[in-house]
């Protein structure tokens, strides 16, 4: 293989991969970020937020928290996952299908389970309770 061919083939492969990625996921949208209030280590979010924002994933943020919390609505109820990577505590980036760590490449599913190392343990999950049309997340 000569140099010109090699460069052409390598570039074509990478551009192809990029193109396929964009094509397959072109409908991707940003996750809504909700600034939630925290009172005595309890965070409360109205259930209606999910309907209002037409989403099953809500990223919760508060200045007193080091990491965001991803609130996932599924058939079993609500899961509140800490966006702290269990490998080296880097902040995680959630997408519509998985949660990723851009620092070292760990990946988690939307239940917090590891699907790709180097992280070895699942994401920390906070206890949630539904009370009066609100989702209460216990941070302690």
């Amino acid at each position: 293989m000569n140099r010109r061919n090699f460069i052409q083939k390598s570039c074509a492969t990478c551009i192809g991969l990029t193109g396929m990625g964009f094509l397959l996921q072109s409908c991707s949208t940003s996750l809504p970020v909700f600034t939630a209030q925290v009172n005595k280590k309890i965070m409360t979010i109205p259930v209606s937020k999910f309907q209002e924002l037409k989403t099953n994933l809500l990223l919760l943020r508060n200045n007193s928290l080091e990491y965001d919390i991803l609130l996932v609505k599924n058939n079993d109820g609500y899961k509140a996952l800490s966006m702290e990577c269990t490998h080296q505590s880097a902040s995680l980036t959630p997408t519509t299908t998985k949660i990723i760590c851009s620092a070292h490449g760990s990946q988690f599913d939307l239940n917090g389970n590891v699907i790709k190392e180097p992280a070895l343990t699942p994401l920390h999950q906070y206890k949630t309770v539904i009370q009066n049309q609100s989702i209460t997340i216990f941070l302690s």
Binding site: F6, C14, F22, S28, E66, S89
Partner: protein
Amino acid sequence: MKKVLLNAIVTVLVSFFSINSLQAQVLTHEDSLANGLISRDNATIISGYGEARYTYDTKRKNAEANLERVVLFVGHKFNNKISLFTELELEDALVIGSGDEGMKGKGEVAMEQAFLKFSLRNPANYFVAGLFIPRLGFINENHLPATFNGVDRPFVEELVIPSTWREIGVGYFGTVKKVPGLNYSIALTNGLNSQGFQNGSGIRDGRQLGSKTQGTSLGLSGSLLYYIGNFRLQASGYIGGTTALEKRVADSLLLNSGPFGNPAEMYEVNGQYTHNGWNMRALFSYVNIPQASAINRAFAHNIPNSLYGGYAELGYNLLFHKYQNEKELIAFGRVEYMDLSATLPVNGIQNDANKQTYIVAGLTYKPIKGVALKADYVQRMTGALNPALIITPFPQQVPYFKNNGFINLGIAYNF
């Protein structure tokens, strides 16, 4: 007497750790998660990784066993916004200058990372300052040995992209709010040292690695990293000055000095697809040294104007449908090609041994997460070594094999 002394030492140690525990909690990840203490200030985290290998050279009929590296990670959180990350690495078991029972060490101790991280309001956006690894290439950041296939890191990511490439500087790592999964980074670090560039290893030996870096040269790098569906896509680039000398000396050697004097550039794209036990990855990287002739005139290391390389890897987890990712047996194959002297300056000498093809095939077995047992075979094919480059040939010089095979066995862990 010995017992008394032992008791005293134990008492002192217990007291020391008791006092320190008032100020900082030393935790493993599992402890920290189980106790929910990670969100507290002044928490210290310990982690690490390591790898050992055995290699048999099929042409020379020789073998080597080596404890490649043991790395200890210590992180400390000062508060919710400021953290420290350090990685201390011991390579090849015994360092140069030390020895035991007549053995001489050949390894080295190095800080692989030591930086402060300053998180912003969105914790996925942060600054780093200190000795850190800019996002260039795949393995450079993701070099934990239990996470890649093969006993060796991809050769392209050692010789074209000089992993692990860390320098002192500042960097910003961010995410694009509107596009989940899209990350970017920009970093300003000290530059390279062209005096270290060697024919056949690209810019690798020009890294300064945070050890009393010289000169006023700077390195500017940036990257885009996009996780989209089952793809991980990245493009990154680097440009940096390479004159690590004070101006007076640089002038006398007719080298440009200053932040981007006699620059080196590196560009790289890579993509990875992971789904249903399959993993595919491809990477291409190109390095340009426009003023290689001036560097050769000063240091006579026969460096090229440009070099490039790329690889493609395909792997499949044979246990995926039975154990998902809890237990893995990955069969993989990788093809790599690089030309480490693709174009030469007028004062450069061609060496076809720099045109290298590697075919790697093997197995990675992970009985649990964090532990990998590896076995592979590497076939290395190169062009002929230019005999004109050997100035004083040794009468009993070992012949250069253009085609050689290596059998590798390895173990790796990270926690």
